[in-house]
Amino acid sequence: MDPSSVPTLRRGIRRQFDATRGAHVLLGPERVIVLDDIAEAIVAQFDGHRSIAEISSHLAGKFEADANEVAADVTAFVRELVEKGLASL
């Protein structure tokens, strides 16, 4: 997956906070994904402009974490969302 590609949620996919489950969720056709804190931190960065690399370095700085590890996590999660039809690049 190219670090310069820009992930966005696909048409019809909504991200919202669900008070019952106390977590953010992604909702799409026949899809419900409850986001854990890390997943939510990543998806919250999808703005249609920032690339995977930019999102990774931003989160590494924010959480004072190893940049390579964060980049690997972000890449894997974005890949999963694309495979599930929830995000596109």
């Binding site: 019809g12 909504r14 019952t20 969720v25 799409g28 026949e30 419900v32 694309v82 599930k84 039809g85």
Partner: protein, 360 residues
Amino acid sequence: MTELGPPLALMAELTHRCPLQCPYCSNPLELLKAGAERDTAFWLGVIDEAAALGVLQIHFSGGEPALRPDLAALVERATTRGLYANLITSAVTLNEAKLAALAQAGLAHVQISFQGARPETADRIGNYRGGHEKKLEVARLVTQLGMSLTVNAVVHRQNLAELPAIIDMAVALDADRLEVAHVQYHGWALKNRAALMPDRQAFDQADLLVSQKRQELQGKLFIDYVVPDYYARAPKTCMGGWGQKTMNITPDGRALPCHAAETIPDLTFDRAGETPLRQIWFESVAFQTFRGTSWMQEPCASCDLKHIDFGGCRCQALALAGDARATDPVCHLSPLHSQVLQMAESESGADVREFVYRRV
């Protein structure tokens, strides 16, 4: 096992009325007439209760839900309450003004059924002349209005050869998702099984095509595939498990764990509006009867997969084994498995083309 949460989705079957007469319709054989339908106030109440319970998605379904003049009002209430609103439609009664009103009301997603890729095939299966062209027109409007589109294609012996063209059609329509669902043999489909059952070879070809296209179209079109379970080795995880994820409300307001649950004798169903949805979900007998694994008999009870597939479909177990507690006979561990497979193979070669169309 994690603790049982609220349902993720509510299936609101607003009506059984439908302009199409598909011979595999998932509605019961005893269709409810318009007079039995519940009013707008009832459904608004259901939506409020569902949202408060923690439901995240609502599927407006039927019959044809767009026959209800209050559809946009219901969509708007659902959206206001934070529910993801999905319309499951035949599309033939929709037009630009109605769709624009639904989009305005917050409708997120529209799933349109297609009965084939060629108008002659599709219109014969739905028994509705001009239906296919109309569906194409509405599908284009859906994406133009910024809503997400699923092309739903129920496949069987009489349209499976068109599957490659159906996939191309979904791409050409700029759909986000394609659902290819082999007929599930309940109700009307069970009645028409000999006219619908594909043969093994056609099934294997379809299977191969879908896996190739999934790879080829990844990131562009998402394909969901529901296999014909008579040819499967393991049963499907019906409804994601009985009473685990979904609640279904019938046009006359009864709450069911699945749309076919009424076929199971001795189960009684509470009415929304009379009993709180929360109580129906967590406490009612109907939702608890086949929830989890404690109701199981052998070979399910000692099976390693019992938490995965929950023994398959209860309604199919009843229809084929005569016992709703039996292992779903499509499972290779069921004593009836080879009999079911034989029946499928023999019916797939049946010289039956005519359908018994659904009608009220």
